[in-house]
């Protein structure tokens, strides 16, 4: 028994020593970056590289407010509770001035809620959930990447241009999949009231039974298919669908399917002729800002950028611009800095909206094909996010009153 207590005390003491050892604050402006570096390594890796590339550029150019910008990266193990703890540590102990990061929407929402409660500023860089800026939106949270709604609306616009009348949807059975299907249905029905959704398939996330899903969709004989599956589920769905001829003569719309993180693992079996959102890093013309970023990235790291790289890069750009505009690093100034902020980025100028804190970063929409043994997007177009957001009245209704 006595030993037990001693053990506990030792632990507590170790914790105290740890606190004493925390480094003297250097004269930098620190940003807390929380992500699932291990759990989602394929996405968080390129994202981090994008951040580091931008940091180097920002600091070479003299930093912000005369100080170097510094990111402190922390792994949350993919657990929201852990992320909240780390956020507190970053803000209270590491001296960060604001928070950013996360890919998974649930963790984004957890940090966003903490941000509002504690008065921390949080830029949700990658999470897609609409509710981050709408139903659960708050004064302290901003979001960079084009949301589920925006990207689904872009695909719905494309889908409305064809004469397909009956649609099947397939989406992982959880919040993101359901949001993505609801947004697509809403946007498409608005554009083309006579469409009919003949089947909705909801495979369990990362546990897809692809053969069965393909059979179930085939049975409904839709004109077109809307796909939200990703990762390993997407690979299995594409393979079974191709083998069984599901995609023959059908138009398929794939949310995020064109992102290199998802398309590359499929190699030469990448689906052809799908209309997708993604990131055609290989196809930018010389002289443009997109090309400049891609070249700089490849020169620096010797590997292709993913969509995560772009988002990471733009995260730093946005934060640097906001701090510069704010002129100070307290929360109120930063909020003022972000609201209505315009940032020059590789994809062009983006704008952080005052009404819902959503940035107008858009998405690339194009058609998939296989070139040199890898899936690529062709005939793509960059669609500005500003054009795919609901009206201001609608947004005002969605956001909770303060």
């Amino acid at each position: 028994m006595r030993v037990t207590r001693r053990g506990l005390l030792t632990g507590a003491m170790a914790a105290l020593t740890l606190s004493a050892g925390s480094a003297m604050a250097e004269d930098t402006i620190k940003i807390g970056e929380i992500n699932h570096y291990k759990r989602m390594a394929a996405f968080a890796g390129p994202y981090k590289l994008g951040i580091e590339l931008a940091l180097e550029e920002v600091n070479t150019a003299g930093g912000v407010l005369g100080k170097p910008l510094e990111f402190i990266f922390r792994d949350d193990q993919g657990k929201p509770g852990e992320a909240v703890k780390i956020a507190e540590e970053l803000m209270t102990r590491e001296g960060t001035v604001m928070l950013t990061g996360t890919i998974l929407s649930n963790i984004g929402l957890a940090i966003s809620s903490l941000a509002a409660e504690k008065g921390y500023v949080y830029l949700a860089s990658e999470p897609l959930a609409d509710s981050i800026v709408w139903e659960k939106g708050n004064e302290y949270t901003f979001r960079l990447r084009a949301s589920t709604y925006m990207q689904a609306a872009m695909l719905a616009e494309e889908a409305s241009k064809t004469d397909a009348k009956t649609f099947a949807t397939i989406a992982p059975n959880y919040a993101y999949g359901k949001d993505a299907v609801a947004a697509f249905k809403k946007a498409l029905t608005a554009l083309k009231p006579d469409v009919e959704f003949v089947t909705e398939q909801w495979p369990a996330l990362f546990k897809i039974d692809a053969g069965a899903e393909v059979q179930a969709i085939e049975r409904a004989k839709p004109d077109a298919i809307y796909n939200v599956t990703f990762g390993g589920d997407l690979a299995k769905f594409v393979r079974e669908g191709t083998t069984r001829g599901l995609f023959d003569g059908r138009q398929v719309y794939g949310l995020l399917t064109g992102e290199p993180e998802y398309l590359d693992p499929l190699k030469d079996e990448a689906p052809e002729g799908w209309t997708v959102t993604g990131y055609p890093w290989y196809d930018f013309s010389e002289g443009g800002s997109n090309k400049a970023f891609v070249d700089a990235y490849i020169t620096e790291y010797g590997e292709r950028p993913g969509i995560g790289s772009l988002v990471g890069y733009m995260t730093v750009q946005s934060i640097a611009a906001a701090i510069t505009r704010a002129g100070a690093t307290d929360a109120d100034s930063l909020i003022a800095g972000f609201k209505g902020l315009d940032v020059e980025t590789p994809v062009g100028k983006i704008h952080f909206r005052e009404q819902d804190h959503q940035a107008t970063m858009g998405a690339f929409v194009g058609t998939t094909t296989v070139k040199d043994g890898v899936g690529v997007m062709e005939d793509w177009l960059y669609k500005d996010g500003a054009d795919y957001l609901p009206s201001d009245e609608e947004v005002a209704k969605l956001r909770p009153s303060k």
Binding site: T4, A15, K38, A41, R93, S112, W202, A212, G232, T243
Partner: protein, 623 residues
């Protein structure tokens, strides 16, 4: 009709990998009584190794030999794991080995990331089997047909091995009566190693053979875990034909579930399992578990006494020191301490039934998360004040535990554990998929305490009072007649029943109490984090609880709390490093090997040995 047949064939093909992996798990459990959590990791390794081999070996011959070689390679990895990690801890208390296998999971996760990188890999197609065959006009992939043909062959080969060869006789004997094998003059450890090889090889084969239907990724280890546990339990622990029937049943039902009730994915499997176990508590082809009649395996727990005066003073001093924390340390440490206390209460509640009751719950997160969700739902929908939410959380979680406990306590031992796991997964999948009500994966957010508690320091004191209060309550209960009756029910059901103790009722009540206190921990959690998500109900969370209770020491009163505090602090520190999973996994394995009685138990043993050598045996007495 054509579609029906095609769907049936899809189900049968899906059953192949599932059966291979599950049969390995079943075999390992049947002979060694080890619940191998790392079995999913063997499956993942099989997929990655198979993939790498297929890049090198060309053609159809290369393809199929890659699969076999992947199986062999994973088999040898299994042997390494068995020799280095498990062999040293066979003598530890029952199920302690699962902690070691959990360490193996973490190590393999990081090693796989180092070797194969973060990106998913797509499995190559089977040469010569790329197309489809039309059966009644329905396309059926050729590879599916190959899988359907191969699986019964594997089943037959295994059946032959086990029922017709000398090795098989030994395996069967070991499944039924381990001591008999020793009596037959067979080296038991050799047999264990062999079975581990076979079980791991089957998992590896399963991973490699599914490559043409998908690929390999770093999440597949955990993703298959629940399914194979379900298959093994439905089939009957240790029964290979049972595993086959269950794999087919689950896979075929799943195909029809997808077609006719698409929302049912995830939940269906657990419903099937609950139904089967209600009708046949030991699975389709399983036998009633022949458990030791009296108490736990290994050294019995030492008698307990309430803490003496000096110990109480020490605890008091410690608590005062803890209460001073906000004055001496940075604010973050009060947050960390809050997390530690919450997890300690969770662990203590699990320890109450696991240690004192001998009831191994693999699904304790259901009550932690359940309590958190009860509180969050009340706040979210009824705008309930925190005080009410705090009251209802343990009640709700306790009720959930009462229902699940009632269902599970009809079984015992590992069947009990597996059923708690399955029902906890059922709760998880309901919360995960019912997003209209629970918010699904996006959870419930903005659940913060009222102003008077919103300061982190104040909330820390609140957590201290409630959390440590809960721990002390549990500890006190251990010393009361109820706690004694619980231990009596664990030590000897026969004796307890023969002296008027309704053991099931005692256990059921204890299970509910443990659930309620886990729910209390959940309520503390949700108001400290401001949000709750389905991850709080996940298998991984339940495993966290099991790990700390075993690491701390099952057969000591404070094991759960010490283990929880130690792991939270270590984890907080270690996750700052790049390959923290590798480090943490190795650390767990090392602790398991050098301290098989858990941290507290081993410290105590060391302490007593030292006293003993000084000539003052604590159990001296009358001898």
């Amino acid at each position: 009709m054509g579609l029906f047949i095609a769907q049936l064939l899809t189900g049968l093909a899906n059953a192949a990998a599932l059966f291979l992996v599950a049969s390995g798990l079943s075999l390992i459990f049947g002979v060694t009584r080890i619940v191998n959590f790392a079995h999913g990791s063997f499956y993942m390794l099989g997929a990655f190794i198979g993939y790498s081999l297929m890049q090198v070996l060309p053609g159809a011959v290369g393809f199929w030999s890659s699969i076999l070689l992947a199986g062999l390679a994973v088999g040898f990895i299994g042997v390494i794991v068995e020799l280095l990690v498990l062999r040293p801890v066979y003598k530890a208390p029952e199920l302690f080995q699962l902690v070691a296998t959990f360490g193996v999971i973490l190590v393999i996760q990081d090693l796989a990331l180092m070797i194969w990188g973060a990106e998913d890999v797509l499995g190559p197609r089977a040469p010569g089997l790329k197309g489809v065959i039309r059966i009644m006009d329905e396309p059926v992939p050729k590879f599916d047909l190959a899988l359907i043909a191969i699986t019964p062959f594997v089943l037959f080969a295994l059946w032959y091995l086990i029922s017709k060869t000398r090795v098989g006789v030994l395996v069967r004997a070991a499944t039924q009566d381990r001591e008999m094998v020793g009596a037959l003059g067979v080296n038991q450890s050799w047999l264990f190693t062999g079975v581990f090889f076979l079980g791991a090889a089957l998992a590896g084969l399963g991973g490699a053979i599914q490559l043409p239907k998908g690929g390999a990724d770093l999440l597949m280890d955990f993703n298959i875990l629940a399914s194979i546990f379900v298959v093994v339990v439905i089939g009957g622990m240790g029964s290979l034909p049972g595993a086959y029937i269950a794999a087919v049943l689950i896979s075929v039902l799943n195909v029809f579930g997808v077609a006719y009730i698409p929302q049912s994915t995830l939940v269906l499997m657990f419903v099937v399992m609950a139904v089967v176990l209600t009708v046949r508590p030991y699975g389709l082809l399983g036998r009633e578990e022949v458990a030791g009649e009296h108490g736990q395996v290994g050294e019995p727990e030492q008698p307990i006494k309430p803490a003496g005066r000096s110990a109480r003073i020490l605890v008091l001093v410690f608590l005062i020191a803890l209460a001073c924390l906000p004055f001496v340390a940075e604010p973050f440490f009060t947050i960390l301490a809050t997390d530690v206390i919450v997890f300690c209460l969770f662990a203590a509640s699990l320890h109450f039934i696991l240690g004192l009751g001998g009831l191994v719950s693999f699904g304790h997160a259901a009550y932690f998360g359940g309590g958190a969700y009860v509180a969050a739902l009340l706040v979210n929908y009824a705008d309930a004040p925190m005080e009410l939410a705090f009251l209802m959380a343990p009640i709700g979680a306790g009720l959930l535990a009462a229902i699940i406990g009632w269902l599970c306590l009809r079984l015992s031992g590992v069947y009990f554990a597996m059923l708690t796991l399955a029902l906890a997964q059922l709760v998880w999948s309901l919360v995960f998929q019912w997003d209209e009500f629970t918010g699904g994966d996006d959870g419930l957010v903005d659940i913060w305490p009222p102003d008077y508690l919103s300061d982190t320091t104040v909330y820390f004191y609140f957590t201290m009072v409630v959390g440590i209060g809960g721990i002390i309550l549990l500890r006190h209960m251990a010393h009361t007649p109820f706690g004694y009756a619980l231990r009596a029910s664990r030590d000897s059901v026969r004796q307890a029943e023969a002296t008027g103790i309704h053991t099931k009722r005692i256990q059921w009540l204890a299970f509910s109490v443990a659930g309620a206190l886990a729910g209390l921990a959940g309520a503390l959690f949700v108001f400290s984090k401001g949000s709750v998500f389905p991850v709080e109900l996940e298998i991984a969370k339940s495993f966290d609880g099991l790990i700390v209770v075993f690491l701390g020491g099952v057969k000591t009163l404070s094991g759960g709390v010490v283990g929880a505090a130690a792991l939270t602090l270590v984890q907080d520190y270690i996750t700052r490093f790049e390959y923290w999973r590798l480090a943490l996994g190795l650390l767990i394995i090392v602790v398991v090997i050098i301290a098989p009685k858990g941290i507290v138990g081993s410290f105590r043993a060391l302490f007593e040995n030292r006293l003993g050598s000084a000539g003052d045996k604590p159990t001296g007495g009358t001898q």
